[in-house]
Symmetry: C2
């Protein structure tokens, strides 16, 4: 029997309680014993919840109860969650989290603290929601050197882009629809400006390359600048616009990590990832490309990943999870400036000017384009090379081609 | 330091040696110590191999060397491989295998033997080649009841179908091309008749539902009956023809498992899986659909999965892997007759006859169709219901719609 405390009874926390209850038999069989929710910490009251007898408002009750082996942190943010996670680990309890912000900003110190206290800090649900990705990356791909990771890591922006592509909605219309459907927050900044994807690529980088990558080290561009004109031009040449989080292995132990909209060829399975789904492609030097696909958010999918971590701890509380990483450093992350790729450019210019500036280009067309709009794909080059060539041109959109 | 013996220096065996050597540093870090190939068993001589000092021809040398902790079995087949696996497990060595035939036919007894000897029998590479699927299914999806698994499990047939769809080759032409490219054996029976996919769905079923499923219990239809006419009709309504291995959870602990060509909607990510790639979709009652995609065969991808298993054992030789399953039984597997779905039918008949027989149908068209050929999609029904309605009609092709 493993006793669990859940911190925060929001979407994910209540999903964890629900999954543990609904699938209790199978979970007990696979965990080697029953897993029971003993406490749920929330400032609110839930008098009608089937778990109503578990609610507490004082974290120290959980902290001081030696029966609680695993604390599930689904509070979010990096304030109260940091305090409670720290206290739980110090009290010798393993912590399972879905909190990408906390892992991306304090993962190194919390993993150290877990190690020092002989317990685990697991956070499969923090990246890709229900998609198994962190555990397979550490374990199933352990024979590989990871060359790069490329992910559609944010469901909200993928929903917005899908609706722009498929229904011809503008960014503002699609955002409104996403908000109406509960896929976007009232304040959508964290999603549409790429911060959420940034936190997730930080976690993936740290696990793949062994050193903490901080969000502020990762150049991050969201999707506010993507227009229907860009979507139409991309479509005309067999591409879809996707917000990608990427990290790449660099010489001398450095890492290149960034978040930006990209043109993705329809031949690439990532292009087919629609609506709120997420997908992550890992490129290993032995396995080549493997892709993990599924629901990147939502109550039960995210709870599925959280509970899998709880089961892993219940099965073997003291095992080394292999998810430690080293401290970050100021010069760890290199800019993507040196990265060669084709580019999509939309500019207030003539196609002749574009050719003159960029040499061999693939001109793109769309119906209803204004006279002095040139959109085209360049030959492969770095960003500085491109900016050099585009000097003096009035650029409207500029995205990498994956 | 973990010492390993590799049985069989063919494609996969030599890939395992190569990956262990090429990525030795990272592997040692993740395994918590060096992993060294001590022996390679093969009847042939490899005087120019960098591993030439490791070769032995007598298995008892490996069996009797207490230094060997892990035996990698990449011989294939269920004869010598069964003998050596049995002897290795009895000698207290863990065995890692890529051999789907052996696991599908003798998995239960070998897992029991491993347990009795306090060692592991792992076979991640036996399904999906380099794709992490068995480990994530057991561990990362452990919070779910698995509703069903649907997989493109055989790269050879997927290559043939892709070439038929994209290049308009006939089955025979595409098979010939696959053989010329080394994607199909001289005797392609195991692949094109679905036996290979059948073995893999047996393994997935056993892990998902906990009892051994034998290949002879699983109705298996290959792709020899798929024609260019079928491919064209499928294309006309937004579907692709894919050979799927499927298993579904049934009441009273039963399992429905089968292998057959299906029409897969282009909206389904499985439809986009091309060439020799494999993909497996697992549907859990919490997570919904998650899909795992990658190279289902090949030297280094398969070796990636084998070596991951070796690393797992090296990290913690005595851990319970949670991959045990129970014995099979004669009445475990139920036929897919009760499974309701839409059907694709191509018949020597008029569309009026088809309508008369099947009621509301979606008629399909292709250029160059003979006068008395009717192809259509039915409403959802079971196979017996369909066969009842089609009685007396001359059927050319009959596939389920996924």
């Amino acid at each position: 029997m493993t006793k669990v405390a859940i911190l925060g009874f929001g979407t994910v926390g209540s999903g964890v309680a629900e999954v543990l209850s609904k699938n209790s038999q199978g979970i007990a069989r696979r965990a080697g014993g029953e897993i029971q929710v003993k406490y749920i910490l929330d400032v609110r009251d839930f008098p009608d919840s089937p778990f109503k007898d578990c609610f507490v408002k004082d974290f120290s009750i959980i902290e001081n109860d030696p029966e609680v082996e695993v604390v599930v942190e689904t509070i979010g943010g990096a304030k109260v969650a940091l305090e409670f996670t720290t206290r739980a680990l110090k009290a010798g309890k393993s912590v399972v989290s879905s909190n990408k912000e906390l892992v991306a900003t304090h993962g190194y110190e919390l993993l150290q603290l877990a190690k020092a206290n002989g317990v685990s800090y697991l956070f499969e649900a923090s990246v890709g929601g229900g998609i198994p990705i962190l555990h397979p990356l550490i374990n199933c791909l352990a024979a590989n050197e990871v060359e790069q990771i490329t992910g559609i890591l944010n469901g909200t922006t993928n929903y917005i882009l899908t609706r722009m592509i498929k229904a011809g909605l503008t960014f503002d219309q699609a955002l409104k629809e996403a908000q109406d459907n509960g896929y976007a927050e009232k304040d959508p900044t964290a999603d549409v400006d790429g911060h959420d994807a940034c936190r997730k690529i930080c976690i993936l980088s740290a696990l793949a390359y062994g050193q903490h990558v901080y969000p502020q080290q990762v150049p991050t561009q969201g999707i506010r600048g993507v227009t229907l004109a860009d979507v139409a031009y991309a479509d005309s040449c067999g591409y879809k616009i996707k917000l990608l989080g990427r990290c790449l292995r660099e010489p001398e132990g450095k890492v290149c990590a960034f978040v930006a909209p990209h043109l993705v060829s329809c031949e690439n399975p990532l292009a087919g990832v629609e609506d709120v789904f997420n997908a992550i492609t890992v490129t290993g030097n032995a396995v080549g490309d493997v892709m993990f696909y599924g629901r990147g958010a939502g109550k039960l999918p995210t709870a599925s990943a959280v509970v899998a971590d709880v089961i892993e701890i219940a099965r073997d509380p003291k095992a080394d999870r292999g998810n430690q990483w080293g401290p970050g450093s100021e010069d760890l992350v290199v800019s993507d400036d040196h990265l060669t790729s084709r580019w999509y450019v939309r500019a207030n210019a003539s196609m002749d000017q574009a050719r003159l500036a960029c040499g061999e280009i693939l001109p793109l067309a769309r119906s209803g384009a204004p006279a002095r709009e040139a959109a085209f794909l360049t030959q492969p080059m770095t960003r500085p090379q491109l900016m050099d060539r585009l000097e003096g041109m009035e650029i409207c959109s500029l995205f990498r081609v994956l």
